[in-house]
């Protein structure tokens, strides 16, 4: 399948909007939170590798950016062997920063979701083991949020 045909096919998927090609091998789209899980299940056969999940604090709302990578050449860019990527954006309200977990679809997403929970405080519904990964247990707050206030330790001499 060519990347342009793939974009055509995507436009009929539920919950998908703003499909665009940001590089010759990258398709970018926006996704609604409710339809996200069905959409991710439908692309699993083409995109077998979940590269990255990044959480962004856009103040006031959160944004999740998913990067998937196609390794089996089922989607191609013209006649080159360039690997196609998919970039999906999901916007979350600050009051309820939760989204369906994809850790059961791509195992590689497991720790990316734990990291987003740890540092940004996004809740992934259905995640098998959602706990902190980089910060110690019992740490208060989510330091990559823009409104996180640092404790200032004044040294006593």
């Amino acid at each position: 399948m060519n990347i342009d045909e793939f974009m055509q096919q995507l436009s009929s998927s539920k919950g998908v909007s703003n499909i665009s090609k940001i590089r010759k091998n990258t398709v970018k789209l926006d996704l609604t939170k409710e339809e996200s899980l069905d959409f991710f299940v439908s692309i699993k056969s083409e995109f077998e590798h979940c590269s990255l999940i990044s959480a962004i604090d856009n103040q006031p709302d959160f944004e999740l950016v998913y990067h998937f990578s196609c390794m089996n050449q089922s989607i191609v860019v013209d006649d080159s062997n360039c690997a196609v990527m998919l970039e999906a954006h999901i916007y979350l309200k600050r009051e309820a920063p939760s989204v369906d977990s994809i850790a059961n679809i791509w195992f590689g997403a497991d720790w990316h979701e734990r990291e987003a929970f740890d540092l940004m405080g996004i809740y992934f519904i259905g995640h098998p083991d959602l706990r902190r990964v980089l910060l110690p247990e019992g740490f208060a707050g989510h330091p990559l949020r823009k409104d996180y206030v640092y404790e200032i330790h004044e040294e006593e001499w």
Binding site: N25, E48, H49, C50, S51, L52, S54, I56, D57, V65, H67, S69, M71, N81, C82, A83, M85, E87, W106, F107, G108, A109, D110, W111, H112, E115, L119, R132, V133, L134, L135, P136, P143, L144
Partner: protein
């Protein structure tokens, strides 16, 4: 016998960094495992948000001490995409040479660390002796041995010094002879094969689902290398091949993962030679390098350990608004309960060593 949990680390010699592997054992057989990270967390992403774009190259150098140039390159490459900077062709060639020298040094560092894991101390000395040669080469243009800060946004810090090509060629020739010696020493050694053959197996399908990339995936026979499949710098114009190995149809073991790295080193030697042949004269730094950036960009590169990726969001100021680092080892380690299960406790150093762990990049 009752099952019990054992903590390996954070001070265990197997860990190669600072992390804990909790293993649940039934007698000597591993039933379950739970890797724990965070001992080395420095919050590089948050620090980066408070520094200007060009300042962050010193932070990215410190992501992985064994492979610092590749990380700095991944960062500058992303920021160049964000700022739409054109890198001069000569600078791209110099970058490629530096990246491949770094890959050689990193793989040698790994091989040197892997041998003592298997009880082969002499192997460590041999491989580290050779790594020293490449560190000397990397030192010539950049002036330092581990943290180079040589690749800058828009190009490289300075041109290669006089006589660099001859010195490199001399060392590459010596290195090729040594690689032949090592194949006698290790590949044909019965003890080495007993520790690595059919240990730590996973299939290519599993590896992709686990998020395992790089040499560990190519060790399953999958021909996937971002230098060819999402090409950057001048890898397109260079004459080289992707090296793959497999232990059996579609799966890897410790030995195939060892061999794929040895093959990659031979390919790196080829790339460096070809770069010197094709390198044009010219500038080494772009004439226009902006300070501010707006928008978002991501790029992925083939790090020594797999798919390195950065995602940078700029809000129009001179500092990144959000900077996300994808480390290949982060996901590879998360899957370790799957590929440890069923093996003996004594196999853990052999398996975890063979995937080439670097905690600096994993903990960020």
């Amino acid at each position: 016998m009752a099952e019990m949990w054992i903590s390996m680390g954070p001070q265990h010699p197997m860990t190669h960094g600072l992390w804990t592997l909790k293993v649940k054992v039934d007698g000597e057989t591993i039933v379950d495992a739970d890797p724990e990270l965070g001992y080395l967390h420095r919050s590089v992403e948050k620090m980066g948000e408070r520094r200007k774009y060009f300042m962050n190259t010193t932070l990215t150098d410190r992501l992985c001490y064994a492979s610092s140039t590749t990380w700095t390159h991944c960062y500058t490459h992303t920021v160049e995409e964000l700022m739409e900077v054109e890198v001069p062709v000569r600078a791209q060639y110099i970058r490629t040479i530096m990246l491949e020298l770094q890959r050689l040094a990193s793989h040698l560092m790994w091989a040197g660390a892997y041998m003592p894991d298997l009880g082969h101390i002499t192997g460590a000395l041999y491989f580290w002796r050779d790594r020293e040669l490449f560190l000397n080469l990397l030192e010539l243009p950049s002036g330092s041995r581990l943290l180079y800060n040589f690749i800058r946004i828009g190009g490289v810090k300075r041109d290669l010094p006089n006589g660099f090509e001859e010195k490199t060629e001399r060392i590459l020739k010596l290195f090729e002879q040594r690689l032949d010696e090592y194949s006698d020493l290790f590949e044909n050694s019965k003890i080495f094969r007993m520790r690595t053959d059919d240990v730590g197996k996973f299939t290519a399908e599993q590896a992709k689902n686990f998020g395992i990339t790089g040499p560990n995936l190519r060790g399953c026979g999958t021909k996937f290398d971002l230098r060819k499949h999402d090409t950057y710098e001048i890898y397109e114009e260079i004459d080289w091949d992707i090296s793959t190995r497999e232990a059996g149809p579609g799966y890897s073991d410790c030995f195939s993962r060892y061999m794929v790295r040895i093959d990659e080193m031979k390919e790196s030697v080829r790339i460096i030679r070809d770069c010197f042949k094709k390198m044009p004269a010219g500038a080494t730094l772009a004439s226009r390098i902006p300070v501010r950036a707006h928008g978002e960009a991501f790029r992925r590169t083939e790090d020594s350990r797999g798919e390195a990726m950065m995602y940078v969001v700029g809000d129009g100021s001179d500092r990144p608004y959000r900077w996300k680092i994808k480390s290949p080892m982060f996901t590879t380690m998360s899957a370790c309960p799957h590929y440890l299960k069923g093996y003996k406790l004594a196999d853990i150093p052999a398996i975890m060593g063979s995937i080439d762990i670097c905690i600096g990049e994993t903990d960020k």
